[in-house]
């Protein structure tokens, strides 16, 4: 039941819209089948599957909105959920920021977000994927802990103004932490794909195991400002926080890193190194995403940072109408242009620096400057004269992605990374490794 075709979804939604007696209605019909397997201490700890389809209806009368949802789809149930939303809309207070649903939209070609092989993942596949990670670890005096999660789902929308949108997607997310049994080394790797045939948990696990072995018996070096080589997962975490903060309303209100002294915003201004280009593109082959956003707006290729300048901010429909701007569909992916340098090339080219596998527990310190704190984790190494010299103890950093991107030295090759929230959740990003000068490490951690 969980994956309805475009025609099946349309048929149900047409009925729902047909039942409306309010000023208008918008309905979302979504379904998801998911499965997961989790392991720790070289043994599977939990595994499971879930399946759900739900219909969410929003009815409005004037500027009053009511929502209701249901997971049954016979005609009587569909009518019942519409009536309930209508009753709730009459009880609701007026929402002065309410926007009527969008009229019929034109969407670009469908993105290749749904891959049959991922949709057909079985419990056996998951058990084998876990075994391919656990067995090599147990042979090497290493303990594996990992998580594989896959999903196949569809989303659809229809409203009384004539808009209809449909998309289906698959995703698989894999992470594993390998720890040496003496407790002094730890390595981690993450993989994220629409297409499960690109996932090889044995290959990924081998990288994490190698990092665990290489990171044993780390030495302490003094905290301070260092040149860092950030692997794509580390860079993506900080970049993602900056992109998430590019909300136009907050910038206009004066409470954003994009607000300007004396009023106004930094739209169009250079805020980072001119080699920084970040955009969203639903049709990118490496990180495809749906061609429409949750509110029905068509997604298209859009620059966020162009040659180091702010190219676009994110306007919701209400704020856009107030500011006479175009509303912005929330980006489904983020792509930062990279370079050709491999991580090895960047190491060779570094006199003194730190290689960072990933960051952990990143939290905002100051929203004004986008200052964040967090720690390195699962493989941090000291580089001297073009070579990895030895593993080092983890650092706490206090740094802003804006400062970081101003201190850009080299852009490396891109890698697809998860943006959080699991497969199909927070979307995916294509982010390069990068070499940054003067990255601020403020204290040492004994954590392995």
């Amino acid at each position: 039941m969980a994956i309805l075709s475009k025609e099946e979804a349309k048929k149900i939604l047409e009925k729902v819209v047909g039942f409306s007696k309010a000023d208008g209605i918008e309905a979302n019909l979504n379904g998801n089948d998911g499965g997961n397997i989790r392991y720790a201490r070289n043994s599977v700890s939990t595994s499971g599957e879930d399946s759900n389809v739900s219909l969410n209806v929003q009815s409005y009368v004037g500027k009053k909105v009511g929502s209701a949802s249901i997971n049954e789809f016979d005609d009587a149930s569909l009518e019942k959920v519409v009536r309930r939303a209508e009753e709730l809309s009459r009880l609701a207070p007026e929402n002065s920021e309410f926007m009527e649903p969008l009229p019929q939209q034109t969407y670009g070609v469908e993105s290749k977000t749904f891959i049959e092989s991922t949709a057909n993942i079985t419990p056996d596949y998951r058990a084998q994927a876990a075994a391919d990670s656990i067995l090599p670890a147990s042979k090497k005096d290493i303990t594996a802990a990992g998580f594989l999660e896959d999903s196949r789902g569809f989303s659809s929308l229809m409203n009384s103004k004539g808009a209809f949108a449909y998309n289906k997607t698959t995703g698989v997310d894999f992470t594993v932490t390998m720890r040496s049994n003496d407790g002094t080394g730890s390595g981690w790797v993450a993989r994220n794909f629409n297409d499960v045939s690109k996932l090889n948990t044995a290959e990924a696990s081998a990288i994490a195991m190698e990092k665990a072995l290489q990171s044993r018996n780390a030495k302490a070096i003094e905290p301070g400002k260092y040149t860092v080589i950030l692997e794509p997962n580390a860079a993506a975490d900080l970049l993602g926080l900056m992109l998430f903060a590019m909300n136009a309303r907050q910038a206009d209100e004066g409470r954003s890193f994009l607000s300007k002294k004396g009023g106004g915003t930094k739209l169009g201004e250079k805020i980072v190194d001119e080699r920084v280009n970040i955009y969203t593109d639903p049709w990118n082959e490496e990180v495809p995403t749906g061609n429409w956003a949750g509110n029905g707006l068509p997604r298209k290729k859009m620059d966020l940072i162009k040659n180091g300048s702010v190219a676009n901010m994110i306007y919701d429909r209400y704020w856009a109408s107030l500011k006479n701007a175009e509303p912005t569909p929330f980006p489904g992916n983020r792509i930062m242009e990279g370079g050709t340098a491999s991580i090895e090339d960047m190491i060779k080219d570094t006199k003194k620096g730190v290689l960072v596998t990933r960051f952990w527990y990143i939290r905002a310190v100051d929203p004004q400057t986008l200052l964040y704190t967090g720690l390195t984790r699962d493989g941090t190494f000291y580089i001297e004269n073009g070579k990895i010299k030895h593993p080092i103890k983890n650092f706490r950093f206090n740094e802003s992605p804006v400062i970081m991107l101003n201190n850009l030295e080299t852009l490396g090759k891109q890698l697809r990374v998860a943006s959080g929230g699991g497969p199909g959740g927070g979307g995916s990003s294509l982010i390069p490794a990068m070499k940054i000068r003067d990255f601020t490490f403020s204290s040492l951690s004994d954590a392995v």
Partner: protein
């Protein structure tokens, strides 16, 4: 939580970007339906269907949780209501042991046929998992309680309070903050009722009614000429209480440099203070980095306790079950076994308590049918115990679980979650003023702010809401750009004074995240104001 659901539901309000991730599990409902309950006799019948079906397929142990989870949010900004959300989630989770392995299945179609099928599926999954088993599950013994019930001792069910009263409160809170100087404010009331029924083959049938409430606001002041802005968040605590939490009385207030709240909360008064203080923060002196004696208010210290004591004493983390996500722990079993690991100074007594009235973690029984109690975690500075559940108790040589099992929904598998973990008040009579008087160079921190800690819980950094400079025993003014960094063991060993019982207050979180797939749980942490000597303070001011 499904991130997609969060984005969909919270995306309706710009306040979402100011709030922590709100797990909204459930379907929108008419608010009046929240006052309905499911008949206990029916729940017992449905539970017995699952218990019998699992047993007939070969399960050697089964527990069943029938959960009805109700949430209500009221979200406003300035003079606008942004969103009112009522949700319900109702269904059953069935957990079994078969062939020595756990299996789990969940269902929201609550008829006997579907329940029996789900129970059979749980057994089939257990048998599948048993193929990769290295060590069969060992459950600590647990007696059956028969048919029992527990209700949170609330005075006023939040779901009975008309929505209009809640909207009016938040809009007047917003108005008060704006009149006092704030330029923007987002405010929220978040109310939860968990109606949980547990049954197991041990012979327990436990019906529980849990209530929680969290009123909060986020006020912002902007200085247009400098382009700077500052925020001041509410000093409320999420509580295991009904709506009475918002009916503050004079005896619930602690006067001082700002009013602090104990057990009840005056949201309007706090908003007024916040409006003014957001402006004061803009003009405050930027801190000189260095070593300071810190005086930490319970509205701040709860989070430091949560991160640096609560998490590293979770036994499943110590054992490596969370290695791929939340991390492991520096409090390894050898430190506990030595009976002399000096976690903190002799003043530091930390207790786990699942029974504390008004706390977020209070229940009669945990989610595997274990009666709840309290126990020492740190005694006179020495690590003496952890937090555990039935299938890990034997690893500590315990003959019974400590009752720390919890699932955030009927559809989630229960696992070890943090009980309320609290720093005990000082035994000698001592007020906040008494503590401040003795400080030569210090900072008094109120409210929680930025927080970050490593995966083994050694190195942390915390910020707050309000920072006051102390010189020669007196508060001399406000500071800004303050954060402190420390090592957990050094920090707790630097504790030199704790105020007495009369200052004891609870703080806490609705959203402690753990596990893959991630689950959130609500937990409280109590303390009195405490002093920590010579802590490293950094300056967080930057220019971009």
């Amino acid at each position: 939580m499904k991130r997609r659901d969060f984005i969909y539901l919270s995306g309706l309000g710009a306040a979402a970007s100011m709030l922590p991730g709100i797990p909204l599990m459930g379907n929108p409902i008419d608010p009046s339906r929240a006052l309905e309950t499911v008949d206990v006799a029916l729940k017992k019948q449905l539970a017995d269907v699952a218990l019998n079906a699992a047993r007939s397929k070969g399960a050697t142990y089964t527990d069943v949780r029938i959960g009805r989870y109700l949430n209500q949010f009221v979200v406003t900004r300035e003079d606008k209501v942004q969103n009112i959300v009522n949700t319900e989630s109702y269904g059953m989770g069935i957990r079994v042991i078969a062939n020595g392995s756990w299996g789990f299945a969940a269902i929201d179609k609550m008829d006997k046929d579907n329940i029996a099928k789900a129970a059979e599926q749980a057994v089939a999954i257990a048998k599948e998992n048993a193929r990769l088993l290295t060590e069969p599950v060992r459950l600590a013994p647990q007696k059956g309680y028969g048919e029992v019930s527990w209700k949170a001792p609330i005075e006023k069910n939040s779901f009975q309070v008309p929505i209009k009263e809640k909207v009016d409160l938040l809009l007047s809170v917003n108005d008060a903050a704006m009149k006092a100087g704030a330029d923007y404010i987002n405010s929220i009331l978040f109310m939860v009722n968990e109606q949980k029924y547990f049954a197991s083959t041990d012979g327990s049938y436990i019906d529980q009614d849990v209530h929680r409430i969290w009123p909060a606001f986020f006020a912002t002041k902007i200085d247009k000429t400098t382009g700077k802005f500052e925020t001041r968040n509410s000093l409320s605590a999420p509580m295991g209480m009904g709506y009475e939490y918002l009916y503050a009385r004079p005896q619930d207030k602690i006067a001082g440099v700002t009013t602090l709240y104990k057990g009840r909360y005056d949201m309007l008064e706090d908003a007024k203070a916040a409006g003014a203080q957001a402006g004061e923060k803009l003009k405050a002196k930027s801190v000189e980095p260095g070593k300071y004696d810190l005086i930490l208010d319970p509205s701040h210290l709860w989070l430091t306790i949560h991160e640096s004591t609560g998490h590293p004493t979770e036994l499943d983390r110590v054992l490596g079950y969370e290695a791929n996500f939340a991390g492991t722990s520096f409090l390894t079993l050898d430190k506990w076994a030595s009976k002399n690991f000096q976690y903190g100074s002799k003043l530091v007594n930390i207790v786990a308590d699942k029974t504390q009235v008004g706390s977020l973690g209070a229940v009669g029984y945990d989610d595997e049918g274990v009666g709840c109690g309290q126990w020492d975690i740190v005694k006179e500075g020495i690590l003496v115990n952890y937090q555990t559940i039935r299938d890990q108790a034997h690893m500590l040589g315990l003959t019974a679980s400590q009752g720390c099992c919890y699932a955030d929904n009927w559809s989630s598998v229960q696992f070890q979650r943090m009980p309320n973990i609290s720093l005990q008040p000082g035994k000698e009579k001592r007020s906040i003023d008494d503590i401040i008087k003795g400080v030569e160079k210090g900072i008094y921190i109120i409210g929680d702010g930025s927080f970050s800690i490593d995966q083994q819980r050694y190195n942390f950094q915390f910020g707050g809401q309000l920072y006051y400079e102390i010189k020669n025993g007196k508060i001399v003014g406000m500071l800004r750009d303050v954060a402190y960094q420390a090592n957990t063991k050094e920090f707790w060993n630097s504790c030199t004074a704790i105020a007495d019982q009369s200052d004891y207050r609870l703080g806490g979180s609705f959203f402690d995240g753990k596990g893959q797939p991630s689950q959130s749980s609500a937990v409280s942490h109590g303390s009195s104001t405490a002093r920590f000597n010579g802590v490293n303070v950094i300056n967080t001011g930057r220019t971009i």
